[in-house]
Amino acid sequence: MIEWVHPGLIFILGALPIPLLKGRWRQAYLLLPPIVAFIDLLAISKGAFGTQPYSAWHFPFLDYELVLGRVDMLSMVFGYIFVIAAFCMILYALHVESGGEHMSQFIYVGSAIGVVFAGDLFTLYIFWEIMSIASMLLIWFHSGRGSREAGFRYIMWHLFGGIVLLAGIIMYIGSTGSIAFNAFSWGSGIEYLPSYLIFIGFILNAAVPPLHAWLPDAYPEATMVGGVFLSAYTTKSAVYTLVRGFSGCEILVYLGTVMAIYGIVFGILENDIRRSLAYSIINQVGFMVTGVGLGTFLALNGAIAHAFVHILYKGLLWMAAGSILFVTGRSKCTELDRYHKAMPWTFIFFTVGACSISGFPLFSGFTTKSMTFAAAAEYYDIIWLLLTLASVGIFLHYLDLFEGIKFPYYTSASERGHIKVGDPPINQLLGMGLTAFLCILFGVYPAPLYNLLPYPVDFVPYTIPHVVSTLSQLSFCGFAFLLCLPLLKRTDTISLDTDWIYRMGGKKFIWFCKEPLPNFARSVDNGLKRLIAFFTVFGINPVTGTRIGVAKVGLTLLKPFVSDYWWRLYRHFERDLEEVSRRPIEAPIERVPLATAVLIILIFFVLYLIVYLILGLIR
């Protein structure tokens, strides 16, 4: 009797038959693993699986035992949303022909679920790395030079993060002797180095500035469907690991607040819809990271609930952007115009996503994000103000996106002409529709979500003051937006981010390796060669060698002073060098008379005498 089936392995093993199936059969099959995984989640009981010997999930590794399944409230809530989102996204992706892309999606989802259920650090690390590679493939399937390069930069970031994580894990195991993945100790001092390294590995995947540049760089370069998957799993599995390992770690409050504002400001600057949405992920994850840093039950519930619905509405927004890209072949605001009338459903779904993310009452952002805010209000006043600023900013960001893609809030089709494109294929519409339904469901009726949360929920989102204050903030933000509209003109540009440092730095480094470094090496090389040549000549024929040496040094030294006065001396050295270099070095150019030799010997004797006398006097 198998007591537990790993839902992540259902996806990973479920990826294997994909290349064998074709057409309708494949499409039908693709929907099977998420359904099986969902039933599996409903059926499994809580507990840690893998610790009992002789069970099917017992994997000894080195001196430790791997725990592939640690099932508690926290891992279950992430497990549920990962599987539900996978179903919606796979439905959306059914039309994709490439079997390899489907396999990457399945392995990516499976490994993210594996991270969530990992009960020990080795299992966590293994799934973490599989997730990096599978997500890189989702970027590379969008062929083209831009995607290839972005994929390389992406994987280099994640391999770096993985290595930092692994170093932290090894040091942690060395110092504690345990591989269990629980809350890490935190404080200041060198003894907390393992925790710091693991922390860096986690926040890199959560895209916390300044370790965030991989996200807006790579996600918009992914395939139209790949971006939808990427928006959900990497950052949210990192949020899960932060909740598990570093809840209540105060630095996360500040990092999260910076993220929330950073994402908005850069999102407004962007021209590409999908890049703008990528910055919006940073903003949203910022709220979750803040919640994790606050660490109270309310805040953690808020962060987890926010991650739950964020996966849905951010997935929906990426789906809509992907459909626009699919139908029109464009994703830049400056190139998108007049499409709104032709793709009504896509724009309705986009609006639902935008309302949810902005936290309008009756949409899912409202019922979840406000928990984090209520928790922040208990301890931090400035942080609360900044978070509210960022939260209002989301609405501004999406108004701006609507303006960018010319959503018809005050234009009519007759004014702008008509372009004949239709809504995307039915599977994309169904995928978006299902996600949009869930976004509204958890906004109107959040009780099922609140019941899933790991800590008891004592929070009522729908109170009159809360609804009124939210509506008031949002509507006056809209008013300010209308006034600022002339300032917000979209331009056909990209914005520099911290990736500039390594992209420019990399170029400069390559230039340095190509130009100055070889030149320097060559000059050292030439200098040494000349020195060796001199010693060779000197060794064979000291007289010639000395004359060459003196002539060369004299030429070099006199060169700056060559005037009429020095000209004769300079000519002398030059002639000497010419004369010497004409003869073979073996032939002695002159014989020294015997008397000269005797004189030199005498001089040495005198020098010796002087040195001897001086040394004697000193003593």
């Binding site: 030079r145 504002i261 908005i264 400001v265 850069f266 407004i268 600057l269 209000a377 208990e378 006043d381 609360w384 103000l385 509210t388 600023l389 209002v392 900013g393 609405f395 501004l396 809030y409 005050y410 109170t463 009159i464 003051p465 009124v468 204050s469 939210t470 509506l471 008031s472 903030q473 949002l474 509507s475 006056f476 933000c477 809209g478 008013f479 300010a480 937006f481 006034l483 600022c484 300032l487 917000l488 331009t491 056909d492 540009t493 990209i494 914005s495 520099l496 981010d497 992209r503 420019m504 170029k507 230039w511 190509k514």
Partner: protein, 91 residues
């Protein structure tokens, strides 16, 4: 049936603004909700803060845009001649 025109939409929007402002005043003066901070006692705080947040973010983004916005092919331009050859071959 009211026709949906630009003018009517703006009118509706302004009515919404007014309604929000009035509702906020009503909540503060009549319901006396529990507040966490002193500034929430200021009349129309949420409206003012919503407006200011938006304005601040737009201005900050605009200011940053002067430095950070670059041409689409900014990163491509800085490639050397050698790499440009590779790109032409690939595309």
């Amino acid at each position: 049936m009211v026709k949906i025109t630009k003018k009517n939409l703006f009118l509706a929007f302004y009515i919404c603004l007014l309604a929000c402002a009035l509702a906020e005043l009503f909540v503060l003066l009549i319901l006396h909700p529990q507040t966490a901070f002193w500034w929430e006692e200021i009349p129309e705080f949420n409206a003012i803060y919503g407006f200011l947040s938006c304005a601040i973010l737009v201005i900050v983004a605009k200011a940053l845009g002067y430095w950070l916005k670059k041409d689409e092919d900014y990163y491509k331009k800085i490639c050397g001649a050698e790499e440009r050859g590779v790109r032409e071959r690939d595309d």
